[in-house]
């Protein structure tokens, strides 16, 4: 790993962070214009070679693959840009579910659902659906188990077993200490739609002007439409996000810092796409 870091100019001592160092875009590459999926598949091996030869810019493929490919000389038509970004946002099943929910909610509501917009959510719940505000303060919604639970379990199994060295003192010791690992922040994309929401009393306060997707989760069992909005919100929240052209440009120049630029020193793409995974 140290070899990669040095090759890519990672600061190994005092100095600026990698994420704020300007990136040198690839250069001297012949332009390829892509207007169809088939053309894209044929172009990818070429792009893989170009990335391998000039890997310093490769991290930008994670931030916006369409814009990054254009810097590697592979430009996509507007339709293909939309196709690629839409395809990469979710695995196929989730993508289909999102499309279904967005379409049905738009039809029912007469406008696009905006489940990640707190003000829109509050209006939707309290004004349109006329639900009474619940006392959700200090309540925590349920989240689906992390997909890396097996990994965590394996690591947890390696912790030292209790030793209980001072059982005779346990009843006497006035102060007890507990040691654990701080839980990871639970992202809204992992809200558990299958878990029942607890029955909460009405809030003593007036209906709030904004609601987070986590707060609306407590209303999902009261109204099927609310449940649909929350589900759409979890899907949207789990989508891969890509930088806008302006943010992309600022990231290249170092004006804008992102964690990916800070952490990923290079990226190499395989010359053939993988098929759908089970």
């Amino acid at each position: 790993m140290a070899q990669h870091a040095e090759r890519n100019g990672t600061p190994s001592g005092q100095g600026p962070r990698r994420s704020t160092m300007p990136l040198q875009p690839p250069h001297g590459l012949k332009g390829l214009h892509i207007a169809s999926h088939e053309q894209l598949m044929r172009a990818l091996p070429v792009a893989a070679v170009r990335v391998a030869k000039q890997p310093g810019f490769s991290v930008m493929l994670l931030l916006n693959p369409v814009l990054a490919l254009s810097h590697y000389g592979v430009t996509l038509s507007p339709a293909m840009r939309h196709h690629v970004l839409h395809m990469l946002r979710h695995p196929p099943a989730l993508r289909a579910r999102r499309d279904t929910l967005e379409a049905s909610l738009r039809k029912t509501l007469g406008e696009p659902a905006k489940p990640l917009n707190p003000a829109w959510l509050a209006r939707f719940v309290f004004v349109r659906q006329k639900l009474i505000a619940l006392a959700t303060e200090s309540q925590k919604p349920s989240h689906r188990p992390r997909a890396n639970a097996a990994m965590v379990a394996a690591l947890q199994a390696g912790l030292p077993a209790p030793t209980n060295r001072y059982p005779e003192l346990r009843h006497r010791i006035g102060v007890t200490s507990h040691l654990g690992l701080a839980p990871l922040r639970e992202p809204p994309g992992r809200l558990d739609m299958a878990a029942p929401a607890p029955s909460l009393p009405p809030s003593a306060a007036a209906s709030p002007a904004t609601l987070s997707i986590e707060q609306v989760w407590f209303y999902k069992d009261l109204d099927p439409l609310v449940a649909a909005v929350v589900e759409l919100g979890t899907i949207q929240a789990s989508a891969r996000r890509f930088l806008t052209p302006d943010a992309f440009r600022k990231t290249i120049t170092g004006e804008k810092s992102t964690a990916f630029r800070g952490w990923i020193s290079d990226l190499r793409i395989h010359d053939r796409p993988a098929g759908p995974r089970a």
Binding site: A147, L179, G180
Partner: protein, 576 residues
Amino acid sequence: MSRTTNFDYCVQLSIAAIRAIFHLALKNEALFPHNLGPFPRNYSGQQVSVAVALLDDMDAPADLTFGPDNQIIFALPLRLTIQVPDSPDPSLSTVSLAATVLAPGGLKTWPENGEDRLGVDFVGITAAKVQVPVVTGLPALDAHRFAAALHAKYLALPPHSFAAAGGTLVIYDGTRDATLTPPNAPGNPEITCSIVPQGAKNWLRVVLPIHASVPAAVGFSAYGSITFHREIVPGDRVVSVDMSVEPPAPLNTVVDFDTLHPAKAVVIANLTPLAIGRIAQFGPVKEPWFTDADAKQALAEEAAAYLNGRRFPLYTPHSGDPARPLATPVGFLLPADGVLAIMLNRFDTSVADAAPDAFLGGNDLALATSRRLLDETIAKAIKEKFKGLDSGASEIHTDQGDATLKSLTVTPSDPGAHGEAEGHLWTSGEAEVHIDCWPDPDVTFDGPIFLRLLVTETPDRCDFTVQPVMGEFDAGQSCCDVFVDLIIPVVGWIMLGVVETMIDKVGGELAAKFAEGEAQQVQPIPPVVVGVAELQACLESISVSSQGLMMPGKLRIRREGASFEDLQASGNLPRP
């Protein structure tokens, strides 16, 4: 130099904490009885009794400092009460010497009940090793004390009327003998003493009121006095006056009468030898006596006698499981920093044990684990929990897709390294990310992971959680959840394991899993110093550097065992 030298763990305690434990040890009557004796002692052939009292209060506080050569210098307030048993007036022949002696105690490890204990051992201490800077209570030559002794002697030596050479000599001492005839002169004069320095010597000048009646000497009958001098001889811890040694003129014994009787001179001439003989009957007068050097030597001897063989523990790890013995703790004092460093788990026996660097700062305690062990633990965890990683095939499944972690290294790094102001775990690796219908990218990554310790403290709880934080990630960057899911659990759980192992190995306790979650009840250091104190450690933060992990904290210390006051209240003080 390093925090752990050739050991895997180091616990550092502040001198303030050691002082607190020491004061509690001093309160333990079983370890440090506060009153010993009286013991018989022979000072220059004179039998005396000596009682020793150990003090530690507001007026005479005990203290300690860390000295060189792994020795703790104890400042112990002692009081010696010396009495001469056959003194004519014991109440007046008592000397009470007090001093704060400086006695070195060795920092040592000893086995007790199958466990290793690290503490202070006074075994083999001698008077030569005890310093006595200042002594109070030194006796002064006091004429009144000699007078009191002579008053007692007077009473002990009847008769006070003597017949000789056809006459009668009566010796008075105020009204102490009311049977005398004739009675004492008007005013009832007493035996008086004064001290007369002459050259390098001090002389006790004594005046005895007398009456002499010699009918054959023209009816001589008169009151008078005998004035005599005897040398005050300071000896080894005793001062004595031998009444039988008549000095030459001009300090010779003088008899005089309050009369102008013509036979006065004759009577005096005849009476003087008789008077000297009577004076000799008072015998030697002895008082406890100490020069400054004598007193210091006596205190040093008694302090050594008191301390020799005593010891008290400072750190008493307890395995609780014969199958899992704990490593013998090895102590080092760092005098310049006021730190006691306790080393555990020697991993390199090819070099001499070495004192570590002080890393305690202004804290009560701090725990550190070696870089060697940290590297070993990380490598072992990665190898065992990510089987196939070294051959490039460890599957990770996350919500947003799957990934194959191909390599992972975690390197503890100093503040300043990698452009980070804070110490961190420099985490690097390579992964292949699986994206449906898209070429799988191979990603090479590296970056800092910071460790935080989140502490929640209440009067009866001190909970802490290890929180790994990926540098440059913030809560708004949900796009990075995959990455966080991929790396944080690995590093977080490995670090939790390192911390728990450290607590386990330094002799603290990992109690049963805590029901409220994944936390485990712990005692970061051994919670008891046997018979002395109960310790409650609360870790407050965690820091990473190229030397390993370090966790500072604070201590609550309270007394264990019975104090002098406890025994006094229950009527169980030891009897002489």
